[in-house]
């Protein structure tokens, strides 16, 4: 089987990988397949080029963007992004519905089994009635393409979730709560030994500033923030953006 076919197989299985191809110069058409665990297959025909290709692949497969770098094209296949929502509350219902509409994969976690039922969350791909650590045993490990949204309104549960997810390298951690709740949370986390740098990784309060007045709009503001974070944007109005009227992103690479 070819490296090309192995890449296709990973795409079929909704897995993650990068296929590096030489598209200019010597070794035209040579391929290197790189997987998330760092293993690779094939060669670009030159050890230096292979090392370069591996480094680019490792970077881009988590950014989930295909890009040309120098003479190498790095083609990325990745599963749809995963949102794990803690707190089986009403916001979580609307957020899972919006996530599905946007092509994301929502999961809901809450140890309060009475709330965490599949019937209450028809749009979630999984509902887990468990504490955070146990939940991730069921949902698969936290990774750089996992987005965490904490909506529990329960300090004990919020803190347990934050301590678990801060120990991992995830794409995003957002937590809902009033100014007062944020301040209280900060104090508790400091007491639990969480560093300033880790505190700064928490987006709180969650969401973009839409002035949301109901649970659906709040869910929309959270979903909008997640999309912006994923694409490396701040989330302002396009009509106010620099390079006015430009809607599609430009390729970052200089071709």
């Amino acid at each position: 089987m070819s490296v090309h076919e192995d890449f296709a197989q990973i795409a079929r299985e909704d897995g993650r990988a990068a296929l590096v191809t030489v598209v200019r110069g010597e070794h035209l058409g040579e391929k290197l397949l790189v997987q998330p665990d760092g293993t690779s297959e094939g060669t670009l025909g030159d050890p230096e080029l292979d090392a370069q290709g591996k480094a680019d692949a490792d970077d881009l497969m988590w950014k989930e963007s295909s890009e040309i770098r120098g003479d190498l094209f790095i083609d990325v296949t990745a599963p749809d992004p995963r949102i794990v929502i803690f707190g089986a509350v009403e916001y979580a219902q609307h957020l899972s519905a919006l996530a599905r509409v946007c092509g994301w994969r929502p999961y809901v976690v809450d140890p309060r089994a009475r709330f965490a039922t599949p019937e209450r969350f028809p749009d979630a791909l999984g509902v887990v009635a468990a504490w955070p650590e146990e939940a991730f045993e069921q949902l698969g490990a936290l990774d750089k393409a996992t987005y965490i949204v904490i909506l529990t309104h329960d300090p004990k549960l919020d803190d347990a979730t934050l301590l678990t997810v801060l120990a991992a390298d995830v794409a995003y951690i957002g937590a809902m709560g009033s100014k007062r709740a944020q301040a209280d949370r900060r104090e508790r986390l400091v007491a639990a030994g969480v560093s300033e740098a880790d505190q700064a990784r928490i987006s709180a309060p969650v969401g973009l500033d839409l002035g949301a007045t109901n649970a659906r709009e709040t869910a929309l503001s959270i979903m909008a923030e997640l999309a912006a974070v994923r694409h490396g944007r701040e989330g302002g109005r396009l009509c106010n953006a620099k390079g006015k009227g430009r809607i599609h992103a430009e390729a970052k690479a200089k071709a």
Binding site: M1, S2, H4, E5, F7, A8, A11, R12, D14, T21, V23, R24, L28, G29, S65, S66, E67, I68, F73, D75, V76, T77, R246, I247, H248, A249, E250, A251, A253, A255
Partner: protein
Amino acid sequence: MKDVIEDVDRWIADGAQVAIATITATRRSAPRPPGAKMAINNRGEVSGMVSGGCVEGAVIEVADKVLTGAAPQLLTFGIADEEAWDVGLPCGGEIDVWVERFQP
């Protein structure tokens, strides 16, 4: 890869030869991002798109050559704004497309 894989699998199961065209870069605004694909087989069938329709014809010509033994190729298409409007690419822009044979 996911955008064309179903058709590619079907064609290959059917014994066809397949070329794949992939957008490698876009400049200014373009309708599809790097990584977007179009697949072409040696029976003239096509799956997916790399633009709104104006460069597909040229891509198919190169794909036919690749399928009859030519080396893979990196193509550049500039899309003039007026021209783009006529053929349904209102964003204008410029795209690079890599065309190669799919090796099953």
